[in-house]
Symmetry: D2
Subunit: 428 residues, 4 copies
């Protein structure tokens, strides 16, 4: 057995890169996960309000996914099959077609890409540029789309951008996201720049936008704004890429976060919770008329994680064949909204952020947000911040969390808010 | 069950992107894998000489890895833990340290990156540029390092490069790989360009090189050349990145393909067979003094696939605690060399390529190579081509393939060569 | 003598590139220029309201400049001296120091650059990036800064941008110029994007801005806006480059167009009328603490046109030793404003543009503006359009034009407006 | 009068940028130039072996050019005419057609560009990329093509490249120039890289090459090599741009330096001596089928310096209507070769460089070369170094220099060589 079972974590310092991050907020060694509960090496239990940054929307180790995966492995089902045909992939695609695409009138094709969100985003960029013959891509302030070079150019965060040592992050124009400029109508800003042939903003290959910005601070775009962006893209012959990696798979109450907006994205990068069980898996949904790459024009070794096909299929069968699950999520989202509103009232200048089960409170400073999360962790709650200055306390609980545990977790959070607000007042 | 069990593959045409590729050479639906044998939906068995492009060096579904993984899942072990501490990660790191790093005198740290080779390569580029304050990276002709924007700039293949629609693939200088210019001393070419302050080749942040070029046509660099490149990098203050993604994990007979060269790479991107069982997993090995990123300066959701930690650890324990396995691989590599030599003698102008269990024959034309692979597939052998013009018939059998099955597979290949050579002669 | 004296212009079609442009609006062969009057090969006289796009602010062939230049040539004064010391350069520098820099409290140094505006702009970009270690430069919509690769990236016009065949025009962020977004406060847009560390707009090396945008449609920035931009640059550690190439040398009534704004640019690219007589000449004014390049770190063959030193010095001595000339320009600018206002009233939706002797009328459509200019040319007036859609009739008369000739030219223009407006009404 | 006439040079320190360079080698103030003789403010005469870096191939102030220019100015001929038609331009074009183009069977069109070499080069790059739809341009080691961003990317010198503060100089591949790699066949290097579709060297829009590299160290390409490059360009659908800016206008004995090679460049950037008298002037010669830009798609204020049209025409009429001048240049080139050979024999390891009247000696070190030039200057000879390490003593005398003065200058140079070699020996 590992030495960590004796409380010795030196192996991480000795052999894991310093770039590791989440372990610094949650400084213990985890051993087990069951739905919304994590257990550490000392047997202590935690409620998980981070959910793998929305990669575990169905919680840890769903029993049905587990069972199907164990059965697959036991029977020597393919573990790695490059992009060859497998029965497992066929069953996943058939279920995705029937459960998700057809009911929503979507004719998209599924492009298997390397199993990370940034791979899906990179594929979308390359394809959009190839199709349109244009290079510029419109991204939005506070957007996050990944850390490989193409995606990093789309990403707003200066700390992330500077990690690459100053290589130019080109062929991208960053425009203000909905609500990011106070009273200024950001749609009008975009419109004016694009309609002016001397603006210096080159005709874009695509717009890429998150319906709710996860890393950027739980900024939720309005229906009007998203429709305006979709119309603007169309008007200028640009493709609309809706990055639903963090906001998708039920997080906001519908399978795709863009569903309530009545827009038709040309491409949809998916990842995070798409595998159902937190296994690495990503795909790019592409309108069939845009599916123009020749075989292998874009490729990669791990496209189509076969184990993930198994669990992703089970997730779709279990949660998306009727609207029971969606209704539950919506209901939990309302509870979340209510409780966060109460907390926000206790913090001067606090603002509610987000949508559905992807909500948080902008508490005005990164220091306060961090203090609240640290206090909550002391009391068994795993929760993180987001936003440009880490100023948003972000709740990303599993959508499957039992209501009682959810409320208890929110009680823990509320107590942490109280403690930190009092500490802050005392310090002033 | 899926319709494909009834022989209906229409779901793939209907819903999977046209960019899929390997399925086109091997047009059947696979259901099971055991060591070097794949089984399709009709119960037909195939010998796998492709091994997930060297992602399945230990074959399909190794029983010990299976058992450990099933135990992990059954016990609700963490499936997805972001980059938090887990007992599973600790055990993997401890085993990797003891089994691989310490015996080789390597003090590298392990950076968990997104679970694809290109993520590891992108991380190495960003880090090298940040550390040196330089932008240019030296890559080599026929190199392949991935398909995301940063890695694609390093990749030689024009078809892949053009997939992105013409975005500039900058900040890279492509120099000739060992042996790629006939009699010209390619090391001298590199040296002259770098030593001339007016060459226009900017001082590099790094050299990135594969010990054996897998996609590029199984080109194997000599010891002298690799040492020369390592010395040149050092002389010019550049870091040496050895991309051992395809050639590593025992493929050439040692754990790392660069071991026989007596060089000390600054960074080593690992992926493909690193997880042992074909699960998506990648890491960047980094010398400790280069481990300078702040927490989260580079990040990603799926860094550190916990299931892969389990299987990777078992693989290290099972195959790398003594030299039994390495000797077997070397022995099989000699058999392979012998049999390919015999085949090459039957083809005008054919050349042997590669090293260890990563060998092939350049048959002079892509058409002939493709015909041979297609003929072999008819007879139950899964085998692919590589090289700029797909002119190399490439053998990447699992290293664990039983000798008898290996020889039978080579018989099948030899027969395919005979048939195709005769067909070609007949057609002329 | 040339065949053109016989009306044969075929040599131009035969041997001059089709990219030539102004000759297409003014399809005759010119032979002589005297102040505001041009004479063509048939002896016809034209009033020049274009003035070499503001390169002839002192008119054609000023007699004092002519005399000095002829004396210089006659005496075998240096015609080309690279950047060696000459008495001619010394006299120019001494005069520029005494006449322009000292009275304005400017301690700038004069960097001789290649004799075109774009050379001065390219030098400013390179220097700003070197000094700050940053790459991004903020430019503004409808800006024009030149056609070489670095300057083209700053330029807004899409037709110009596309001339380069799609090479990336990177490391520039284009923000909205004053007044370019209707009611939207464009300074606030700039401020919000720069103050948000996750906006994706990288910290800039410099802001580059024209006080009045010549090619962009005679957009004149307000004092408040220019001061706001200057403050924003300072706040973010960016240099302020004020491109006074077209708007400088008295065009708006002061030597530099930025004088009324009370700002202190770090660098000022100068060209066009800087030589006084229309000879190719450009320079970059640089604050002494920014004059950090080593000898020859930026160079060029024609830096410091010696003939231009002669004429530029005479221009400074003649026009800028007291405020007589500046007052005349201001007065003429008021006449121009008055007359253009009258014309604008006759055109539905017309808007007055510009400042000083750099004014025009946005007539709402490129077709109408072109028709007006063509009609004016028929009646002996040389005048051009500007703006993204060529929708602005632009008056750039020599500042030295006799008042009577100026008013007669404005009469011609007013008549052309009347004619074209009536034609337009008739056509509707 | 200027204070410099009293020996006070403080104005330069006070007001001219430190980036100035030639004045540092020749630290006196020049006042007059006549053919190959410069006179300084103290009346001292110098023989000019620098000739404005080959911008004064016909010497200073040729009396016929002077006379024509004075006549033009006196008669109020156009000084600045944008790109409008003038009689002066017509006469120049007619003379260039008759004297240069037609006798050489060239059907090129003349594109007037901004009056510096780098403007012509930038225009050629933009046009080549637009025509081919490709971005990559092949340039050669030790090449120099200018300092604006597009041209700088082509330039080899690292000092120049670094002047821009690290902006990426992309879309260019630098290949080894003829003779730059000892025994390695550099044409074979180019061929192998371009013929390998996986080399990572993207299909080029153009090759740009100097027949003799002036700044790069007077490297003269062989006929075979230039023909090989021309053939390679053609084979790969790339345009051939021959940069004859420094080597053209008779410098090597023919009007164009590429004439002896029997190649047909697609584009030829011209500048430096093209105006005849050292006035700023540049043009791009373009094959008619490549003259595809729309009017103003590339533009600039000072395209077509009218004063230069006058002097350039006189130069063509005076020197190129028969072969007298060319023969004289060839003869002088042989004298030069003979004398430099004698000098080279006195220096260990010295190598002769160049061709025609563009020759020098690589003396093995920049220090020695600089010492020789400084010693020569003490004795009234203006001469400079070139090469990556400034190791080449470079003779660029006016082609019109009287033979006696030429030989006397060479005597001065030979004496400087003797002195410096003896000093060096003494110091060792």
């Amino acid at each position: 057995m590992s030495t960590v079972t004796n409380g010795d974590k030196s192996i991480f310092d000795r052999r894991e890169s310093q770039v590791r991050s989440y372990c610094r907020s949650f400084d213990t060694v985890f051993t087990k996960g069951q739905n919304a509960t994590l257990t550490d090496v000392e047997g202590r239990e935690y409620t998980d309000f981070l959910a793998g940054c929305s990669s575990l929307n169905y919680g840890h180790n769903d029993p049905d996914m587990k069972a199907a995966l164990i059965e697959h492995i036991t029977g020597d089902g393919i573990a790695h099959g490059l992009d060859m045909y497998t029965d497992t992939k066929a069953r996943f695609l058939e279920t995705f077609e029937k459960t998700i695409l057809e009911p929503r009138g979507m004719d998209h094709k599924v492009m298997m890409v390397g199993p990370t969100g940034t791979n899906a985003v990179e594929a979308s960029l390359k394809l959009a540029r190839k199709i349109t013959g244009r290079k510029n891509v419109i991204a939005f302030t506070n957007g996050f789309h990944g850390m490989t070079l193409g995606s990093l150019a789309l990403t707003g965060n200066s700390g992330k951008r500077n990690g690459g040592g100053g290589v130019s992050l080109g062929d991208v124009t960053h425009l203000p996201y909905d609500g990011s400029m106070g009273d200024v109508d950001t749609l009008e800003v975009a419109r004016t720049l694009l309609n002016n042939s001397s603006s210096g903003v080159d005709k874009p290959a695509a717009f890429i936008v998150e319906p709710v910005q996860g890393e950027g601070g739980l900024n939720a775009a309005s229906k009007e704004w998203m429709q305006g962006i979709a119309a603007l893209a169309k008007e200028h012959g640009a493709l609309l890429i809706v990055d639903d990696i963090q906001s998708g798979v039920g997080r906001t109450g519908t399978f795709f976060a863009f569903e309530p907006f009545g827009i038709e994205p040309d491409m949809v990068p998916m990842a995070k919770s798409f595998s159902g069980m937190g296994l690495p898996f990503a795909a790019l949904l592409v309108k069939p008329e845009l599916d123009v790459w020749k075989p292998a024009e874009h490729n990669g070794t791990f496209r189509g994680n076969t184990h993930a096909f198994v669990t992703a299929r089970v997730a779709l069968e279990k949660f998306w064949t009727d609207d029971t699950f969606a209704k539950e999520v919506t209901e939990k989202g309302e509870v979340l909204h209510q409780r966060l509103s109460e907390m926000a009232q206790k913090i001067d200048g606090a603002r509610l952020k987000g949508r559905g089960m992807m909500r948080g409170v902008d508490v005005g400073s990164g220091d306060l947000a961090e203090a609240i999360c640290a206090e909550a962790f002391k009391n068994g709650l795993i929760i993180e911040t987001s936003g440009a200055g880490d100023e948003v306390v972000k709740v990303l609980a599993p959508l499957t969390i039992p209501m009682e545990q959810f409320k208890a977790g929110l009680d823990t959070l509320a107590a942490a808010v109280d403690t930190c607000v009092q500490n802050k007042i005392a310090a002033e």
